[in-house]
């Protein structure tokens, strides 16, 4: 054996595990759902040709960003849920952990592979979305110029500016970044659930439950706390729910983006930080649960 020095943490090992996880997910056709997204975009753009361009772009952004959020969240849950159970069932985990690979590196590699998959998927969806915005803008612009005979130069310039502002703008990017942060949180939480789940179906079921609770809890909390009779039991229960389930509503900033409102820098930074904290905490829980697991 060569004189390689052992390191308790090796980025090379984590990258190897992440790369292998990504390759596995790609070759297992995890990207097929992107076709669904493309069909949704094409279908919605054909339908929207009937309405004014401001409405068209607003609805297009609403549908596209909403679809990107749901698809990315679903992919995060579905892709992560199968990783550990499959490795255990097919015993591939033995050959990996019989190497000098700490369990936290194994988990980090798995999560890293999913995060890479989510990034590539989101970039592909964003590219398709921006391409559609660009094409629709060019078509509408050509139409506008074709019917501009009665307009003055200033009116035409204003109309073109309005069209341009309604299509792509850089304010969409923070919204897409938040979609990624939310998906990363869900992937980390799914990884934690899969460390003690008995099957990947159970993990998916729990995560769908968590997804809905996570989205509804802030609304429920606001409603119950507004009631005069909300006593300490209700408050304790709400505190417990808030502690166990992530408040996913905090990551829904897409309404602002669709309405053309700029996400303030501080709100964006806070949301990203919150997502990173949630992701780290769930990863830590996953490691604690997995560390003592008998394989």
């Amino acid at each position: 054996m060569s004189d390689r020095k052992y390191r308790p943490f090796s980025l090379l090992r984590v990258v190897a595990l992440a790369g292998n996880t990504f390759t596995g997910l790609v070759r297992l056709k995890a990207f097929y759902f992107l076709l669904l997204f493309a069909l949704l975009l094409i279908g919605s753009s054909a339908f929207l040709a009937q309405i004014s361009f401001q409405e068209e772009f607003q609805v297009l952004k609403d549908i596209s960003l909403g679809a990107m959020s749901i698809f990315t969240s679903l992919l995060a849950i579905a892709a992560t849920a199968q990783l550990l159970p499959r490795d255990l069932e097919e015993r591939t985990i033995y050959t990996i952990l019989a190497r000098p690979v700490p369990r936290y590196e194994y988990l980090a590699g798995k999560l890293g592979g999913v995060l890479l998959l989510l990034a590539v998927s989101l970039l592909a969806m964003a590219a398709a979305f921006f391409a559609l915005l660009f094409v629709r803008e060019k078509i509408l612009l050509a139409g506008m110029l074709g019917h501009s005979a009665g307009l003055r130069a200033a009116e035409l310039q204003a109309a073109v500016r309005s069209l341009h502002a309604s299509a792509f703008n850089a304010d969409l990017l923070p919204g897409i970044a938040i979609i990624y942060v939310k998906a990363a949180l869900l992937a980390s939480l799914t990884l934690f659930v899969s460390t003690f789940a008995t099957s990947n179906l159970f993990t998916v079921f729990v995560m769908v439950f968590v997804y809905f609770i996570g989205h509804l809890q802030s609304t429920a909390r606001d409603y119950w706390l507004a009631q005069d009779g909300s006593g300490w039991i209700a408050k304790s229960f709400l505190a417990l729910v808030a502690l166990v389930f992530p408040d996913l509503q905090r990551f829904d900033l897409l309404d602002n983006v669709v309405a053309g409102r700029v996400i303030p820098g501080s709100l964006f930074a806070q949301t990203v930080l919150l997502g990173c904290i949630y992701t780290s905490i769930y990863f830590f829980f996953a490691w604690v649960a997995f560390q003592g697991k008998e394989l």
Binding site: S10, R91, L97, A98, R99, P100
Partner: protein
Amino acid sequence: MIKPAVSVRGLTKVFPTPFRRERIVAIRDLNLEVAPGQVYGLLGPNGSGKSTTLKIILGLVPPSSGSTAIFGRDSREVRSREAVGFLPESPYFYKYLTGIETLQFFGKLCGLRGVSLRSRIDKLLTLVGLESARDRRLSSYSKGMLQRIGLAQALIQEPKLVVLDEPTAGVDPVGTREIHDLILDLKRRGITVLLTSHLLAQVQKICDCVGILANGALIREGRLADLLAIENQTELTLENTTPEVLAQIQAALENSPARLVEQRQPQTTLERLFLDATNPSTDQ
């Protein structure tokens, strides 16, 4: 003092049964030692605790009591597995990877990279006879090929200890012979081998030492030659003999306290017969 390649001290493993009070004792107070360079066979019927023992040695399962160590380092330390190659029973690797990608993946886990990894992969693929299948996905490999790529991954970082769980399970006689030759080659190179097997005749050919487990306890252990020797008997094998010579031997025996237990014509083994029939070029 030379540290044993593997040492097991007072090892006990108890598995709780969910929703019941009773517990399953998989291993009871097991003690064994594997010397460096030795080929050690851990034998036993199904459920005797062989695989659990290997898993504890490799740090995959924690012991209930007692300890295991690899070259003096506690198995619970990740670092103890630095010089270990492992081939699990009926290995299932990532079927979406090709042969070469599989070895690259395990090589990187062992800290190999670049030219040294590439040359090591080439050498191992040649060793296990899979050069022509290097770019095929493992989903198209036969069971014997999977076993061979498994052996290659176990040897990727030139380990000092190789642990093989049923290495010939489901492999045809030719493949089994190749695996045996590979194990003997490892032994010649001073690499310690710890293996489990059901196939006792094969273990007999390659192991220096064996331990026999039953119900989680070690019931026999020692050097194979010592365990198998029948102390009060001597075996003679004659070539080109004549009936007259045999008559003289028998006459000599009649005038001595020795008794002829058996006289028969030696036979080849079924394995030898199969190998010769299927591959006439096989060395005798």
